[in-house]
Subunit: 303 residues, 2 copies
DNA sequence: TTTTATCATCAGATTTTCTGATCGGTATGT
DNA sequence: ACATACCGATCAGAAAATCTGATGATAAAA
């Protein structure tokens, strides 16, 4: 089997046209180099060098093979360089999964920042529900998740980024609009509109109600907060909105948004990755950026 | 130092996603492969593989490096293939030196044949006098010479191809035209036109005369047989022509050409190469071709 | 002729690499 | 819950490869 060492030695000889100097360059003795060259010639079944009185000269095969060898050695150097300067900064392909109740609100401001900060990062996005994200993460189809914590899995490590308060959203004409602070009890007074089954925000919203009252729930469920906001605006019910989405969803002013009385219910947004992933430092790095973007969202709102 | 073995093992793992099977493919035990992979990862300062419960998966760096490694391994295979299928047939760059009294007559028919028989042969031609050819051969600037033998040099090996008879060329109106066979003595009767100093044919022609008569020599000498033939045709003297050139030089019928009486004087055309050259088999091969082409020249001539 | 330069060869020392046994951890099936 | 199978890591000793330093052979230079 031909080895890189042989190519390195041969490359040195091809450049120096002299075994002694080549050996010196390679930091070995001349016999060692001689033997490797001979072995290489035997492996290749060709004489690469003409040992003559006027030093060494390359045979025709030798010339061609020296060129190819030099190219291989360059490629090898590139591999090492690439690997070494890897790790410094998030780069390469990164498959990021985001839940639907975050994606539309975090990604628009986040993506430009990412592109600027980490131009070598080749981001691939996937938006779906937590359970699917987790499975795809474990399967290796995704590398990193942005979702609501906690994620309970022994193979997954998470990092919290920031808390995202829940706010009560009602129609402009709704009677409870007068209140300064909402309470969970108010949720019982009207039909509660939630995302369809499987969305973590649905479960979190139900948790806020503290009980499994299915009575005043819209049974169908919607697949996006936007749709729910439209419904709320048209008096079809009330809902909980994450503070994160306010900037987008209340921009048109068609709904009222009321903060809860203390303790304000909230969800924790965080990152998740395979415990076995070596990119944790990058993920933490990215987390800082996402946190910064998340906090740049309006810090509070009451109308 | 990173080694090809490591890349080979890593490539196998990248394809198999399984240390055991990869090791089997590489015909080593799993620990051996494991250790090489670990060493590679350390050399590169990057984790290449994520060892997970669902088998092994490549990290992002791993994927990139696996691709590059595969490419390097392919290049290596190409080098070996190239080298192995080398030697079969004359190919690659070949610097051929030819003396001026052969080149114009052998090359026109030879080159098309060469191109057809050995399409991978990249022929570079040099036409000059023997002494220069020999020096350039020893210097490695030329690989093979086509010239008149013998060549006396301990570092040069030669192979005779065919004999090339000398013929006496006179003008149409010359009195000795009547003779059926020429003799060396006839050369004394008229001015002998020869190539300039340094051409082997000049020396060979003088040898035919058996003596160093400079009396009736054209002192200047010409640099090509064509010119001499013109001079002969115009009655400026006589000359010796190699049979090889007849087809070209007597085509126009402006001169008379007479064979010598036995023993017919001749020169031996042959090949010469550095004794240290590994391409001797190719040269012998090429020699057969040149011989065939040389013999296809008119076998004799008397007018 | 002697000297110098250069690559090849050789034996023994050194280093690298491999094997075979074993460990620890995880997933799977009962 | 337990037993089992699987997988990669680890380790010590064996085997193989590589290197060194001395020497040889040959050709060019002095």
């Amino acid at each position: 089997m031909i080895s890189l060492k042989q190519l390195r030695y041969f490359d040195a000889v091809a450049r120096e046209k002299h075994f002694g100097r080549a050996a010196e360059q390679c930091a070995v003795t001349q016999p060692a180099l001689s033997m490797q060259i001979q072995d290489l010639e035997q492996q290749l079944g060709t004489q690469l060098l003409e040992r003559g009185r006027r030093g060494v000269m390359l045979t025709e095969s030798g010339r061609e093979i020296a060129e190819r060898a030099a190219k291989v050695l360059t490629d090898i150097r590139d591999i090492v360089d690439f690997a070494r300067h890897q790790g410094d900064v998030p780069a390469g392909r990164l498959h990021l999964g985001v839940i639907p109740s975050i994606a539309p609100y975090i990604l628009p401001p986040l993506l430009p920042v990412l592109r600027e900060q980490y131009p070598d990062l080749d981001l691939h996005l996937r938006e779906t529900q937590t359970q699917h994200l987790v499975r795809e993460l474990l399967d290796g189809q995704l590398d990193l998740l942005l979702l609501g914590l906690p994620v309970e899995d022994p193979h997954i490590e998470t990092a919290a980024l920031f808390d995202d308060r829940f706010l009560l959203a009602t129609s402009k004409s709704h009677p409870i609009t007068a209140n300064l602070r909402a309470t969970p009890e108010m949720l019982e007074q009207d039909r509660l509109l939630l995302l369809e089954e499987g969305h973590c925000m649905r479960d979190q919203a139900l948790a806020v109600c503290d009980l499994q009252r299915v009575g005043n729930l819209d049974t169908s469920g919607s697949s996006s907060l936007s749709t729910i906001v439209q419904m709320v605006a048209n008096g079809l019910g009330i809902t909980l909105l994450p503070e994160l989405c306010l900037d987008v969803e209340s921009r048109h002013g068609a709904i009222n948004v009321i903060r809860f009385a203390d303790p304000e219910p909230s969800r924790t947004i965080g990152l998740a990755w395979r415990r076995s992933s070596p990119r944790k430092p990058h993920f933490v790095e990215l987390g800082k950026l996402i946190k910064a973007v998340g906090n740049r969202q309006p810090p509070a709102a009451s109308a």
